[in-house]
């Protein structure tokens, strides 16, 4: 499994602002933070703002003299900073009237997409197509109705005569088939760096 261990060396590089380590760190935690935030926030702009705020605070804390010293606590630290950002968001949302403004712009643009990224994305899309093609029509329909059409899961399960356990196993199997391609992607991105 491609992975940089969060060890002392990694932490030191991160603290010193070494570009590749920072890039890996942001890439590693971005998706987890986005998922966590999107379960609790309404708009993608809010999620993106909070994600950036989380990283800004993590990097500020890392650079402090008395900042984090135990590399194995890095993940837990990112999670706790993200929790703090969320708490502050809840507090400010309850004080202000909420806005449905969806078109807020992120201040920091995402890094430029490279040719390799485009190729890797295409390969992943092909793998997803392959996994979907290998499914029964009913299973494809379940995935579509739940994740694309965002219909109520219980209603979809009832209509198609399956239970929630079936849904979990279906997702588990599909994820497992796809994971090899995902790990290849991670390896390619590491080689690129």
């Amino acid at each position: 499994m491609q992975f940089h261990a969060f060890d002392k060396d990694y932490l030191e590089k991160l603290k010193s602002g070494e570009f590749r380590t920072q890039e890996h760190f942001v890439s590693y935690f971005s998706e987890l933070i986005r998922l966590k935030l999107s379960k609790r926030m309404h708009s993608t702009a809010e999620v993106e703002d909070a994600r950036q705020e989380t990283f800004a605070r993590v990097f500020t804390a890392l650079r402090k003299e008395d900042g984090i010293r135990e590399p194995e606590r890095l993940g837990a630290f990112v999670n706790s900073v993200c929790n703090n950002v969320l708490m502050e968001h809840y507090r400010s949302s309850s004080q202000e009237t909420t806005s449905d403004d969806e078109d807020g712009e992120a201040n920091i643009p995402d890094p430029a997409v490279s040719v390799i990224d485009v190729i890797v994305e295409r390969e992943m899309q092909r793998k997803v197509r392959h996994v979907l093609d290998g499914m029964e029509e009913k299973d494809r329909r379940i995935i579509k109705e739940i994740f694309l059409d965002e219909r109520d899961k219980d209603v979809v399960c009832r209509e198609l005569g399956v239970d929630r356990e079936y849904l979990r196993v279906l997702l588990h199997r599909a994820k497992k088939s796809f994971k090899s391609e995902y790990l290849k992607k991670m390896a390619k991105q590491t080689m690129k760096r």
């Binding site: 499994m1 202000e96 979907l132």
Partner: protein
């Protein structure tokens, strides 16, 4: 929650399916951020579902023809020499063009973005007196430059719109800064420009809905091209 527990509970699947209670979600997230296996699992699952949406949103007709039998007039008719030879020649030309021209240029651009370098920076002064010269900065055409910007904060604004206006007054780019951002000096990296002349950074205060309220300040700047560049 530990890894065995997470595996036994199928916590990754339940997390992706929003089936965990708020307390369970928090317990799993504490584990997730620290466990590389679960992290890979959730990230792979999330990515799979994102790609599924794209795939399943595409019209069914896109996928259906792949499964058709070859009748001689379908996809495989492209393999007949009359089509195949010119088609492959064209493809070779295209691949050669990509490999020799496009990819090296893109790789160079990516490498340039990653390499450290010195960028020109302007010192911006708000509301330069009419007639007084605006601060000048020497840049190369198309080369990015830095604009350190200090915006006076006012509690009435929720955010600020920052615009770079070109010599004609047209907006070259714009971005939004939160009231939190402007508490410190902002350093903006501007994309390169192709025309030298008098530019202006215009900062406007926004309300919580993103509506422009009042102009906070103007920061004129003169961009001059280095020798050898257009002016």
């Amino acid at each position: 929650m530990n890894h065995d527990e997470a595996t036994r509970l199928m916590a990754s699947e339940k997390y992706l399916l929003d089936e965990l209670s708020p307390e369970e979600s928090e317990a799993f997230e504490e584990h997730l951020f620290a466990c590389h296996q679960c992290s890979m699992d959730v990230r792979a699952g999330s990515l799979f579902l994102e790609h599924c949406k794209v795939e399943l949103a595409a019209p069914a007709a896109d996928a259906a023809p792949d499964r058709k039998e070859d009748t001689g007039s379908g996809w495989f008719s492209w393999l007949k020499p009359a089509f195949a030879i010119p088609a492959f020649a064209l493809l070779l030309l295209l691949v050669g063009y990509q490999n020799l021209i496009i990819y090296p240029a893109l790789r160079t651009a990516v490498a340039q973005n990653r390499a450290p370098r010195i960028l020109p920076a302007a010192t911006l002064v708000r509301g330069v007196t009419r007639g007084a010269p605006a601060p000048a900065v020497i840049v190369r055409p198309g080369e990015p430059f830095l604009l350190p910007l200090e915006i006076p904060t006012e509690s009435t604004f929720s955010a600020y719109a920052i615009e770079l206006r070109g010599p004609s007054g047209a907006v070259v780019w714009s971005l939004k800064a939160s009231s939190e951002d402007v508490k410190n000096t902002l350093t903006l990296q501007s994309p390169g420009v192709q025309e030298a002349g008098q530019y202006n950074i215009v900062v406007t205060g926004l309300d919580s809905q993103g509506n422009k309220l009042t102009e906070v300040g103007q920061y004129p700047i003169k961009l001059q091209f280095a020798e050898g560049g257009k002016s």
